[in-house]
């Protein structure tokens, strides 16, 4: 068994540097690598390109890196709910590339599994396809989209073992699995870090081969964006 466990978030982030491209898992504030983001704020690395479906909110998630002016460019599908983001984008401080959510997922997966590019119908005929190669298959038009290239992928899982195997919970799964192995180095933070042999080989969502470093997150706030409930009858 090849050990991937590191003891601290700072050890997990060794090698992180200015100007790098990061992939970050999560949808909204759900399943985001909270501990990693806090450490990136502390480290103060700058001029980052971040590939992540959303940009957090003003005071949580990627919003923290934005507040700190550490991000140069965001590649996302949806960036609402974030005033500071909007301000930086409109003022030109922040470069933003908006792409369809399914395209984002598949460009991550392409990088993960060694496919150079994919054809997707999403965005054909819209400004998203401008300047991109398009092509017809069976009477339908598709856009050629390339695999991402990133230095680090930061993901958050529910349970993990020392071999780097991961299990996600609920919709906190989202982009996390498809980012594993899609960058040069994949760092996973988990709520529970278990000894090897604790997880059923049949129920592992991401095999450890896709993960280089794994650590137990110190604290998970797991903030809820839209608390919607119903009253008991």
């Amino acid at each position: 068994m090849i050990k991937k466990k590191v003891s601290t978030v700072s050890e997990a982030l060794l090698g992180v540097d200015n100007g790098m491209t990061f992939m970050l898992g999560g949808f909204g504030l759900c399943g985001i690598p909270e501990n990693t983001i806090s450490e990136l704020v502390k480290l103060g690395v700058k001029d980052l390109t971040c590939i992540s479906n959303n940009a957090g909110v003003d005071d949580f998630g990627l919003g923290l890196l934005l507040q700190n002016h550490q991000i140069n460019k965001m590649i996302s599908s949806y960036v609402g709910e974030n005033d500071e983001f909007e301000r930086q984008m409109l003022s030109g401080e922040l470069d933003v590339e908006l792409i369809p959510q399914g395209t984002l997922a598949e460009r991550c997966r392409a990088a993960q599994v060694g496919l150079p590019a994919i054809y997707t119908p999403a965005g054909f005929g819209t400004e998203v396809a401008e300047g991109k190669e398009t092509r017809e298959f069976d009477g339908k038009m598709y856009v050629l989209e390339h695999a991402f290239k990133a230095d680090f992928a930061f993901v958050k899982a529910w349970k993990g073992d020392e071999a780097g195997n991961l299990i996600f919970k609920g919709t906190a799964r989202n982009f996390n699995p498809v980012m594993c192995g899609a960058a040069k180095i994949t760092v996973a933070e988990v709520e529970e870090l278990l000894p090897v042999g604790s997880l059923d080989p049949n129920q592992i969502h991401i095999p450890g081969i896709f993960v280089q470093r794994i650590f137990k997150g110190e604290k998970f706030e797991k903030r809820i964006e839209q608390r919607t409930v119903r009253k008991r009858d």
Binding site: E86, Q101, T120, E127, N174, I224, V229, R230
Partner: protein, 218 residues
Amino acid sequence: MSLSKEQIAQRIAKEVKDGYYVNLGIGIPTLVANYVRDDISVEFQSENGVLGMGPFPFEGEEDADIINAGKQTITTLPGASFFDSSLSFGMIRGKHVDLTILGAMEVSENGDIANWKIPGKMVKGMGGAMDLVASAENIIVAMMHTNKRGDSKLLKRCSLPLTGVQCVKKIVTNLAVIEVTNKGFKLLERAPGVSVDSIKDATDGTLIIDGDVPEMNL
């Protein structure tokens, strides 16, 4: 009488058939789930990675790890499953989802839709909408017939950046049910008490009126 948002949802719910997997967008579409008949089997998919969504959780039972694409806390029903974003959009792109219901800022008479960006004003992003409209065979737009300034949202050509081209099949507004045909907007039903002329007035694109137009049955 022009329909309320709840009534638009109620009318759209009648388009949901037994055995359908349905993706509901944010806003009016989300309300559709409340009006689907009890005697048919339907499953709701949310593109962030869940199939078999149930109602909101009871107070105190909300789980930050279980949300829908609107980032709302939800529950799941028996038979539900969770999956990653790649498989989720695989369901959509692979045409396994039977019906997509979403909102729009503009729809054109050839079925183009715009709902993700107002240049210089609002740039929140397309989220999953571009994937949904590019792949779904059955797309219903739920929206008000006119915008806040009273301008028609059913146009000859969209003025805003497009989300998808020639994809909308049906539109349900506060005034009418409209089918998008290759000749333009075909008026299928009127809201109760709403005249054909007032719908004509509120529609910028070509409106096709073919014989008597019945009132909606909610």
